[in-house]
């Protein structure tokens, strides 16, 4: 029991490792604040493009979305970080993470938002266009607000996944929470920093999980 507590819940180690863990936590928050909006932006672009009926838009888009949903994000990230420099494209760890998440999470957000847009009745679009609103204005003021509301639980759920997924940035030596925890672990020769990182993730994300449950329950109740 002592061994267990010493290895995973060593308060002294927490105190020693705290500064470096704090740096990592801040980097994770910054990273999330970077990749979530980037992914959403990519998703909105993809979702709006899917409303164009032309096959010249539709099929390339299908291939794009399928590719980046099928490709493991870790593989994509390593390819951008370690593969592209061979052809002279070196974007560094932050650049690789930004591009990789834009492509990967953009595809997921895009599919969610597409479902949202499709859930808005056609009459909404016709009513808006009949008053002289342009296609873009109709999308911005009438369709997207309803689309987002209709798929809000899915958007939040995906955002949760994205924040958790930022831990793969540790692979390209971006000093986020997991990376710093592993640094601290090797310095202190103790697993407590990993446990501390896990607790930090939990504290960060648990409120979001609760919020999501409430939204999902409310949506279920709303349908009843």
């Amino acid at each position: 029991m002592d061994l267990f507590l010493d290895t995973f819940f060593n308060w002294q180690i927490v105190q020693e490792a705290w500064p470096i863990l704090w740096q990592g936590l801040k980097a994770t928050l910054l990273l999330s604040a970077l990749v979530v909006p980037l992914g959403l932006l990519g998703g909105i672009i993809l979702a709006v493009l899917t409303t164009f009926p032309s096959p010249w838009v539709k099929w390339p888009l299908r291939v794009w979305v399928d590719t980046f949903r099928a490709l493991p994000p870790l593989v994509l990230l390593v390819f951008i970080f370690a593969g592209l420099p061979f052809v002279g494209v070196d974007v560094g760890p932050w650049g690789a993470v930004a591009i990789g998440f834009f492509l990967n999470t953009g595809a997921y957000y895009g599919e969610i938002l597409r479902a949202g847009i499709e859930s808005v009745p056609r009459g909404q679009l016709e009513a808006a266009r009949s008053t002289g609103l342009t296609r873009g204005q109709t999308m911005t003021y009438v369709v997207l607000p309803q689309a987002v509301r209709n798929v809000l639980p899915d958007l939040i759920s995906n955002t949760l996944e994205v924040v958790k997924l930022t831990s793969i940035a540790s692979v390209v030596a971006l000093p986020e929470l997991l990376f710093e925890a592993r640094q601290a672990q090797s310095v202190t020769y103790n697993a407590t920093p990993i446990m501390a990182a896990a607790v930090a993730y939990f504290i960060l994300l648990w409120p979001v999980v609760r919020l999501l449950s409430r939204l999902e329950n409310r949506q279920l109740a709303g349908r009843g």
Binding site: P121, G123, Q124, E126, A127, A128, R129, S130, T131, G132, L133, T134, Q137, Y141, V142, P145, Q146, R149
Partner: protein, 251 residues
């Protein structure tokens, strides 16, 4: 047709054809509506009357033919369709109010974004439009908090706030409970008294008899006959019209 001569046409549709895949839903239809006229389009379902109406503001793209509204060629690729649509109000069977906006917000959106009015001016105009449909006191209600009849009146306010030259009504009372129909028809009658040009697709025969200048009967994508309400209802020339009218009046 003495009531319609000598006045400028607001809507002029000529030889409209519309195909949906293999379906030929409009087979060369002509429609001319003059200023301040109220034209009623009737006919069995599938006769193409709603499609014709939707061709007038190009929500539906005619396969061939020409549509001119208030002097603007609606099918000319050079025409700014969004600008042209400001002059054509439309009211739908299913209301189609924006559920995430209040009644006032619904009316204000196009005033702000299409006409480019400032907030205060748009709000004043929207409030005035709601007043015209007798819903000034419901301005801050969301569509779900309103009855179907009230929603349809807000939809009318949304259209008339833009001061259109013509209003198109696509079965405006078909989705309403019977006791809510009267309020919507009353608003339409007031619009007519104010001199609005209107094209109405509807089965409200009582309203057609009382308020329409002209009734157009359509079947199978063609206009079968057209005339004064009294002529069409009391003395239809064609067997199709007679059969349709007797069927409707049995209800």
């Amino acid at each position: 047709m003495s009531t319609t001569t000598g006045r400028a046409p607001i809507v002029e549709a000529r030889d409209i054809h519309k195909h949906f895949g293999h379906l030929h839903v409009l087979k060369g239809v002509d429609l001319r509506v003059v200023e301040k006229e109220l034209v009623f389009l009737i006919g069995p379902s599938g006769s193409g009357k709603s499609t014709l109406l939707r061709c007038l503001n190009r929500l539906e793209e005619p396969s061939s033919g020409s549509v001119t509204v208030d002097g603007i060629d609606m099918l000319d690729p050079k025409t700014d369709i969004n600008k042209a649509r400001q002059r054509i109000g439309m009211v739908f069977q299913s209301f189609n109010l924006y559920p995430h906006m209040t009644a006032l917000g619904n009316v204000m959106l196009a005033l702000r974004k299409v006409l480019g009015l400032g907030r205060a001016e748009a709000e004043a105009k929207a409030q005035a439009a709601l007043d015209r449909v007798h819903l000034a006191d419901r301005a801050d209600h969301y569509p779900l908090q309103l009855s179907g009849g009230q929603q349809q009146r807000v939809a009318i306010a949304r259209a008339i706030a833009l001061e259109p030259r013509v209003m198109l009504f696509d079965e405006p009372t078909s989705a309403l409970d019977p006791e809510l129909v009267g309020g919507v028809l009353a608003v339409m009658r007031e619009l007519r008294e104010d001199g609005m040009t209107m094209v109405v697709v509807s089965h409200e025969m009582g309203f057609a008899k009382a308020a329409a200048d002209r009734v157009v009967f359509m079947a199978d994508g063609m206009i079968v006959e057209s005339g004064l309400p009294a002529e069409i209802f009391a003395d239809p020339k064609h067997e199709r019209t007679r059969a349709f009218i007797s069927q409707i009046e049995r209800h």
